[in-house]
């Protein structure tokens, strides 16, 4: 299913996104993250030595579920999958780059001391970006935020 304009717009909101991949033994594993969406890619910032970086690099393909909740209930979700690559952060890093953007869409504010620590780690080469190519579209999409909401797969 091609990525609809609505789904692409939602993915650009800096949502809570669950990232999943298969370990070498075939068992699934995953992590809650914050994602950014640009040019057909969902990207996740993490430490280069983290288990998620290792597992995703080994798997080469991953799935991601971006969600928005109303209280405990998920009212909007997009599930996508694709090849995942590991690369160095771009100049300015996700911390510095995302503050204004994330604030604009109501995403969570990261404390300054945390942001400084992340940016320092980026400069030291300790952090990487996991880039998930979702250009092939959504595996499934849910929109329960309106009356008569529905799920499409």
């Amino acid at each position: 299913m091609p990525l609809s304009d609505a789904d692409a717009s939602f993915l650009g909101d800096g949502n809570l996104t669950f990232l999943f991949a298969l370990r070498p033994d075939g068992s699934p594993t995953g992590w809650p993250m914050t994602s950014e969406f640009r040019e057909g890619e969902l990207t996740f910032s993490t430490y280069a030595k983290s288990p998620k970086a290792r597992v995703c690099a080994q798997a080469g393909i991953a799935a991601a579920l971006a969600v928005r909740r109303d209280g405990a209930r998920v009212v909007r979700a997009v599930c996508a999958e694709g090849t995942v690559t590991v690369r160095a952060p771009e100049g300015g890093g996700p911390g510095a780059r995302s503050r204004a953007g994330l604030a604009a869409v109501g995403a969570m504010e990261v404390p300054d001391d945390i942001r400084v620590r992340v940016e320092s780690a980026e400069r030291e080469g300790k952090r990487v970006v996991l880039a998930l190519d979702v250009s092939a579209g959504a595996v499934w999409s849910l929109d329960a935020s309106q009356d008569g909401g529905h799920a499409e797969a």
Partner: protein, 135 residues
């Protein structure tokens, strides 16, 4: 600065899981990327009773029935429970293990998962005083 241990204790994991009811499940349905579904659960002692509603979206062109078949072939799952109202309230528990007693209950997929292999984090512990290695 030494890295702070922000993992939850077993008691904290139990308390956290008892406070929530929604989860996300990943499973291996024979494709290179995991299948993913939204689900609900109840904590029963050291086990989670998990249900995936009939209406759940799972894969393009397939639904809960396909997930049921997938778990029959490969029962190992990853279940994630998460909260993030503010940065220092971010917390999650991830449980990996084999789905047990998988069955169709009136179109709803139901199974149990022992709370065994757990990964967790509580960002509230980033605010805790340095414990100098004590438990």
């Amino acid at each position: 600065m030494p890295k702070r241990d922000i993992r939850m204790t077993p008691a904290e994991v139990t308390e956290f899981l008892s406070q929530h009811a929604e989860c996300v499940i990943a499973f291996n349905d024979g494709r290179r990327a995991p299948g993913v579904a939204l689900a609900r659960y109840r904590l029963r002692g050291d086990r989670m009773a998990i249900s995936v509603p009939r209406s759940a979206a799972v894969r393009s062109g397939s639904g809960v029935a396909a997930m049921l078949a997938a778990l029959g072939a490969e029962p190992r799952v990853c279940v994630l429970v998460e909260q993030s109202p503010t940065y220092y309230e971010i917390a999650y528990v991830a449980i990996r293990g084999p789905a047990e007693a998988v069955h169709d209950a009136d179109g709803e997929l139901v199974f149990e998962l022992p709370v065994g292999h757990v990964s967790s984090a509580s960002f509230a512990k980033l605010l805790a005083p340095t414990d100098l290695g004590t438990a």
